[in-house]
Subunit: 526 residues, 2 copies
């Protein structure tokens, strides 16, 4: 029996707010600090490690977090989710993105279809299609091979697949598995589509239109933009376009597309990277084998999320520490700081994943909650950020919890030794240094050079950004956000907050405005 | 006589916290809302307008903000700054970036040099060099024209110039003034340099090494990376490399460079886009005339910052409203949301500009302050953000003040009409709709579909992203941040918070670590 209760009704939450907080400067100093960092380390899938030595927790706090996990039935709720319960209550939907990478529990049959089989079939269809394109069996009107694939989508149809593509583009080059270059069109700003199309060899390009409903304004507009450009170039648009959509959407049955790959209502946009939304473009860009390796990494990480022991379930542990920082310590933001240029757009993906899932003020029954929920997520790769916003993180008046990510090896293995170390060593030295600088600080009589410390962080450490480890990283954060939604008793799988703007924008375009909206419309010459 | 006092010692600040706050939903509704939006509008330079109709202020609050501006002597402090006072007290330096685009007050002579003349001479030197490159008078070893320019720099040597290049790249293409393609290498991650170098035709590339001190670890490392690549390609590195540095730096007199352009200690990295740091690459990429137009736009906006009347000084007004939101209303973040794909990296530049300048806990005398200072800055272009983190902005438990930017016209003028409107109209309709949705909200009995409203925003509206309007936008935010620093009594022009990490990283690389730092170093295989 699962109970969906607000966080502030739980005994363990009350207890959590009464435990003595940690003095991070103290516990991270000297040999005790060393022991702590060794001890507070949990293995993730695919060789990743979640190390929380520099988080503001200790054994006492962890013990209460374990109670909270139990009282809030986090693992039971995850089990209900992957076994097909209606977790997305607002929209009366199942939540099945985990099935794209493995069968975690029972078969889930909906509308007479085994959903795991359905998702796998779509992945296979995309794989077969990609293989034929790579083999020159599916070609353009002139019988020539396609060389570029362009994703036309926005939000979840853009951020995740784009972050993954950028993360693996250079890895694929050095591993000789970059089959096609990928580009992305997302914004309704006409300059976005125009700029991408200017840079693409249209005659050898495939365009994937990605919209679950088939009604997303930006995506349909950009689809027309692309069709216009293809037609003006004397090409047959239907020979260059694919669709990723739901089976019931207007796009699904159209002869305007060379092929269509299907998703369904049980996978939210921001959780769709492992469905056909990511599968079509990533299989075309890198080959289906690489996409399968991403799925394997994600699936392995999902398996860990079934563990009831918080020390064997890094995503749940990360989620619980985040709740402690947000609700007890009162920190409103989290910065995501990957020390890898390949992960340059991963923070933007996590920003959507987290803020769209848990940026809510009502619980899953639509009742207002009396506590803060999802934090602001932002971030840039290190070491770049060190020369930018880290000043505030070190010496500003607010404390921002930090999520570092670092890898022992680069992707391209091209490196130089300067002053006795490689660039990769310098990169790693910097992230190690930052963790300790943030946690321990450094006293200085010149207050301008004084560092208070006490800034908590965790780090995920891996061998290299590759398909498996990237899949595991993706799934870790998806599951972290899911567990936090369970703790806060939210529905993390709808997004009603995006609706009002859409309605008002339509009104502006129909010139059906008054009051302030009319004045803004006039100022913007609409 | 200028008095440098903490914010909480000012009578007007006490008064500010006692004025009745605005009910944004109420004041933005109906015809009163329309009147308000019309009235709360201040012209900026180059056809831009700062509209703050949807901010949580009214005439009463504005009256106290005007008092605060006067009591804190904001314009007098700006005057002292551009006339050459030692405003950067921590480092005992003048603050002279405004002189790169105009002489706002008296001649500033330091170390026997008229600084305006010095900066202009460096811009002219870069312009002459660029003209010769474009004319084929300066060529590679084979006598061929250079086609690409690569900036090697980090932080302020990267973010501002990169944001400006991306903002004008497509504008330059359609206006036939894209002279050379620009690329950027910043991160010490070896994959950053390796990936850029893989994509660059080395034989026809110029590399600009940008480091004021000539000692920035990342930049020197990447310089060696580039030299290695050039040498391996059989090229003479000294014929492909330029330096932007201070006259006293190790880079300045080296024969390793084809040319060197100078900056000095009186221009901080994050304020250096209009110095040779931006001037060299932007003159090479777009031609010196385009760079001059950026300077003109910035200079025109600087002139407005001299006005004592807050209603004629949009940067000061913006700064004051921000202080009200931060210190009285208690909002810890600001989101920057440009409705222009061209401005995709402008939020990252503002993030550095703001957070590195005002992320401080001590005043200009090194004494701790008892109030919060610089906010967290983050943002992505609209409409993309609408399909990502806007969910939290609309319905999350925290309120985030918003800074929209919108333009009436696109840059490339390639557009399509779908459902009766162009993409540009859709883009503008969306930003208008969002402002009103955030401010007014919409009541719904289904609490999940309920929008509280009361989320304040302002919008800067322009005709188009072009060199002049971009220069004005850049200067607006520089001056806003400066005025906020004055209000908070901070030194906005140093960055001591970046030092500790550097020191510890060096220790890691020298294997001189113990405690937690040693464990992290081991975990990362350093």
């Amino acid at each position: 029996m699962i109970n969906w209760n607000n966080l502030d009704t739980l005994a363990s939450y009350k207890e959590l707010s009464e435990v003595k907080p940690v003095n991070l400067v103290e516990v991270m100093s000297g040999e005790n600090g060393a022991e702590r960092v060794k001890k507070y380390s949990v293995p993730m899938a695919e060789g990743l490690t979640y190390n929380f030595g520099a988080k503001s927790v200790d054994d006492d706090i962890l013990a209460v977090l374990a109670k909270l996990a139990e009282e809030a039935q986090l693992v039971e709720k995850f089990e209900a989710l992957y076994n097909g319960a209606v977790i997305n209550t607002g929209e009366n939907r199942l939540v099945l993105h985990h099935l794209t990478r493995g069968q975690l529990g029972e078969a889930v049959v909906a509308e007479g279809v085994d959903k795991r089989e359905f998702y796998v079939a779509q992945q296979q269809k995309a794989a077969d299609f990609a293989n034929k394109v790579h083999a020159g069996e599916i070609v353009n009107e002139a019988g020539e091979k396609f060389t570029t694939v362009v994703q036309v989508g926005i939000g979840g149809s853009d951020l995740g697949p784009r972050a993954i593509y950028l993360a693996l583009e250079n890895w694929a080059k050095v591993n000789d598995t970059l089959k096609m270059k990928a580009e992305f069109i997302s914004n309704v700003d006409p300059d976005d589509a125009a700029a991408v199309l200017n840079n693409v060899d249209l005659a050898h390009a495939l365009f994937i239109v990605v919209s679950k409903s088939g009604t997303t304004l930006e995506t349909l507009t950009n689809e027309s933009f692309v069709r216009d450009a293809l037609t003006k170039a004397g090409l047959d648009a239907s020979k260059h376009m694919l669709a990723v959509t739901s089976e019931t959407s207007p796009l699904a049955k159209s002869t305007d597309y060379l092929a269509a790959f299907f998703m369904d209502d049980f996978i939210g946009g921001r959780y769709s990277s492992c469905s056909a939304v990511g599968g079509a473009i990533l299989s075309l860009a890198f080959g289906p084998e690489v996409f399968a390796r991403i799925l394997n990494g994600a699936g392995a990480q999902d398996e860990l999320a079934k563990n009831k022991d918080i020390m064997q379930n890094p995503s749940m542990l990360d989620a619980l520490i985040g709740v402690y920082e947000r609700n007890v310590l009162g920190y409103p933001e989290t910065a995501v700081l990957p020390y890898s240029q390949a992960l340059s757009r991963f923070p933007a993906h996590l920003q959507q994943l987290d803020m769209e899932s848990n940026g809510k003020s009502v619980n899953r029954y639509g009742e207002p909650v009396n506590y803060v929920t999802g934090p602001i997520i932002f971030g840039e790769p290190g070491t770049n950020g060190q020369h930018s916003f880290y000043q505030l993180l070190h010496q500003g008046t607010d404390i921002v919890p930090l999520q570092f990510v670092g890898y022992k090896n680069s992707q391209m293995a091209t490196d130089v030794v300067i002053q006795g170390s490689t660039s990769q060593q310098k990169l790693c030295a910097n992230v190690a240094a930052q963790i300790v600088a943030f946690a321990c600080g450094k006293a200085d009589d010149n207050r301008n050079k004084n560092f208070e410390g006490g800034r908590p962080s965790s780090i995920i450490i891996g061998e290299q950004v590759n398909p498996e480890s990237l899949g595991a990283l993706l799934a870790h954060f998806e599951n972290k956000v899911m567990f936090q939604g369970f703790v806060w008793n939210l529905n993390s799988f709808d997004q009603e907050g995006v609706q009002l703007g859409k309605v008002l924008a339509k009104r502006v375009l129909a010139h059906e405005t008054d009051g302030a909206l009319k004045v803004y419309s006039d100022l913007l010459n609409i």
